[in-house]
Symmetry: C2
Subunit: 374 residues, 2 copies
C-alpha cells in the first residue's frame, strides 16, 4: 500500500485531525501507522475498522460527488500547511492534515497563494455582514481570494462578497464534501466550487462535530497568510481560529465596532491584547500583507486591464453577463455595437484574455479569471 | 514686583501659551522677563502694553467673577504641569503655563490627582455622546474626576456624565473665565464650578482663538494622567490633545466604533498606530491606570460605603435629593421613616460623613463628596 493510499485509509478510519494521529504520521509515515493499526488486537474497534476498510467504495463515492484527494507533495498541496507541524495541540488537535478532499474548479495552491481568511460568528449583525462582504469584495478586486468556513453569518457574507467581485473563494468544511454543512448553503457551495474549491479533511459521508469545527478552524488559519475577524462574540469559534493563526505567525487583524455590540467583543479583546491589528477596511488589510498587498491595493486606482480598451470594446465587454454565456447576436443588441464590429471586438477581447467561448460558442468571462495583461 | 505679580502681568499682556514666552520664563524667571519687556523700545507694541498694564482692574474683575490666580509653587498648582517643560513645541505652543486662573469650589491638585481627560469632537454622534457620558459616570463612581474642555459634543457629554455620578469635574477653557466659551454652556460651567473647577491660562475678558484652543488641549493632556478619545473626525482637535498626551507619556486610550463612522476615524487610526490603547468602557480605562485604578474599579462591586447602613438608614439616605437640601420633616415623609427615628438617623449619617447640613439646617449630600469610610 502506498503512502497516498495509507493516508486516504487513515483519514477514513481515524479521526484525522487529532494530534496523536497527525503526530504519528509525521514521525513514522502513514504506511507504517496504517500497518501498525492493521496488526492491532482483534477486539480493538479501530483495528477492526481498519481491517474491514476498502478504499474502492470511498473512491467511487468521491468520484460521483466530483471530489479529489490530495496528499503532501501533490502540486495542489499548499506548502503552508507544513507550518502546522510546529504548533502545540489545541483541544487535542494539531498537525498537518493527513490528506485533503477537494471539490471545485480551482487549484488550492494557486487560490490560497494570495488569500485572506475572513472569519466570524454565525450570529453576526447586519453591520458585520456588510463589512465582511465589503472587505471580501475589495480584496477580490485586488486579486486576493477569501478563505472561510462556509458557515452562516460572517463566513457566508465573506464568500458572497468575494464571488460578487468575480473572484474565486475557498470554503473549508467540517464535513464530507458530498454532504456540505450547513445544508442551507448547498447553492452557495455549488457557486464556490465553480471557480474556487471546497476543502475538508473529512471523508465522504462524514458529519461535522464540535471537534471537527475546531480542526477546520486550524486549516483556515493555516491556508491563508492572514486572518481577519469581523465579528465574534465572547465564545465564538473565531477566537480559536485566531489562536491557530497567531501560533502560525500569520497576520491577524480584527474589525472594530460598537462597544455596545456583543458581536464586537472578541475583535475588541484581540486588538486590546495586541493579538490582532485593528483594520477598518480592505485597504488596511492589504497594507498588512506587505509590499505585494500594497501594490495590489493601489492597482485598481492606478490602472485596470480594461483601461486599455477603446470605448466600443468596453461596451461589448461590459455587456457580457457576470455568469453564464451569451451569443454574439445578443451581445451586439445589449452593447448597441453592430454585429459586424461586435464579432471582431469579441475575437480581440478573447485574444487578450478578457473573454472565452463555451462549448456552445457563447461568449463568457474566463472560468478561472486572472487579470488579463492589457 | 514679585514673581507671582510678574506672571500675572505677563499672562495678561503676552499670549501666555506661546513657546517663546514660557521658555523665557522657565529660563530667566518671570520677573526678569517682565522687566526686560518694560525696558523694551518705546514703539514696540508689547512693551507699550506692558508699561500701560495695571494689575488692580484685572484683579478686581477676577474677584468679581469669583476667580483666583495660581502660580507654580502654590498648593493648588498641579505638579504634573512641570512635565510640559520636556515637550517640543507643537504649533509654536509649549511649556508649563505662566499661571492659571481658576473658578470653582474644587481644589485643582486634589481634583486632578485621580483624573482622566475625556476628549473628542464637537460634531459627535449619539453613540459617542452616550459612551462619553457612560465612561465619565463610571469613572466618577470609581472616584476619578473627568477633565475636559467644556466644548459641545464629547466634552459636554463627559462633564455631564461625571456630574451625574455626583463627581466633581474640571473644565479647561480657551477663554477668560468671566466669559466662558461656548456661551450656551454657561449653566453647565456654573454646575462644574460648584464642586469642580474651571481652569484657563487666559486673562479675564479674553476670547478664545484657534491657537488658544490648541494651547488648552496641551493643558488637558498635562493635567490628567490619562486621556481617552471617544470620537474624533480626521481633523478633530482631539488628535492634538493626544500628541501632547503621548509626549507627556500619559496613558492614551481610544474608543472604537463603526468603521463606517467618520467620527471613529481618529480613534481607529490611533489604535492602529499604537498611539492609543483600545478601550470599550470605564473598567478598561481603570485597568490602564494601574493597581490604583483596578482597586477603585472593583470597589463598587465588592462593597459600597452604604452597605454598612441598615435598611431604615438606607431609606433615609436615599431620600436625600442629589442636589440641594431638604428638611428633616420632608425627608421623613419621603423615606416613610417616622420623624423621631429620622432625626437620629440623619445625625448618625452626618457623623459618618454621608450627609451634612446647610446654613438653613437642611440636610444635603456633602459638597465635596468623598467616599465615606463606613
Amino acid at each position: 500500500m502506498s503512502e497516498r493510499e495509507a493516508r486516504l485509509a487513515l483519514s477514513c478510519v481515524i479521526e484525522p485531525a487529532t494530534w496523536r494521529v497527525t503526530e504519528a504520521v509525521a514521525r513514522l509515515g502513514a504506511e507504517r501507522v496504517w500497518a501498525d493499526l492493521l496488526r492491532g488486537p482483534l477486539q480493538a474497534p479501530l483495528s477492526r475498522r481498519a481491517r474491514e476498510f476498502r478504499s474502492e467504495p470511498v473512491l467511487e463515492q468521491a468520484a460521483a460527488a466530483g471530489m479529489r484527494f490530495i496528499v503532501p507533495g501533490d502540486p495542489e498541496w499548499p506548502g503552508r500547511l507544513a507550518e502546522l507541524e510546529g504548533c502545540e495541540p489545541v483541544n487535542d488537535l494539531s498537525g498537518s492534515p493527513l490528506g485533503l478532499w477537494l471539490r471545485g474548479g480551482g487549484d488550492l495552491t494557486e487560490l490560497t497563494d494570495r488569500s485572506v481568511a475572513i472569519v466570524g460568528s454565525r450570529a453576526c449583525t447586519p453591520y458585520g455582514e456588510t463589512i465582511a462582504g465589503e472587505i471580501a469584495a475589495e480584496l477580490g478586486k485586488a486579486g486576493f481570494v477569501t478563505v472561510s468556513g462556509g458557515a452562516f453569518g460572517i463566513d457566508a457574507a465573506a464568500h458572497r462578497g468575494c464571488l460578487a467581485s468575480r473572484s474565486a473563494t475557498v470554503s473549508v468544511l467540517a464535513s464530507g464534501l458530498d454532504r456540505p454543512y450547513p445544508v442551507a448553503h448547498r447553492a452557495l457551495f455549488d457557486r464556490v466550487a465553480e471557480d474556487g474549491v471546497l476543502v475538508t479533511e473529512f471523508a465522504p459521508g462524514e458529519h461535522p462535530t464540535r471537534s471537527r469545527f475546531l480542526g477546520r478552524n486550524r486549516l483556515i488559519a493555516a491556508l491563508a497568510p492572514a486572518t481577519i475577524v469581523v465579528e465574534a462574540g465572547a465564545r465564538s469559534g473565531a477566537r480559536n481560529t485566531v489562536t491557530w493563526a497567531n501560533c502560525l505567525n500569520r497576520v491577524v487583524a480584527a474589525v472594530p465596532g460598537s462597544v455596545h455590540s456583543a458581536q464586537s467583543y472578541t475583535p475588541h479583546r484581540l486588538i486590546r491584547a495586541a493579538e490582532a491589528v485593528l483594520v477598518t477596511g480592505a485597504e488596511e488589510v492589504l497594507e498588512l500583507l506587505g509590499p505585494l498587498g500594497r501594490r495590489a491595493a493601489r492597482a485598481p486606482v492606478e490602472s485596470r486591464p480594461t483601461d486599455a480598451l477603446d470605448p466600443e470594446q468596453l461596451r461589448v465587454f461590459e455587456a457580457v453577463p457576470a455568469r453564464g454565456g451569451m451569443s454574439a447576436g445578443e451581445l451586439s443588441l445589449r452593447s448597441g455595437v453592430p454585429l459586424g464590429s461586435c464579432l471582431g471586438i469579441l475575437d480581440a477581447l478573447a485574444e487578450q484574455g478578457f473573454l472565452e467561448q463555451d462549448e456552445r460558442w457563447n461568449w463568457r468571462l474566463p472560468r478561472r479569471r486572472r487579470a488579463p495583461t492589457a
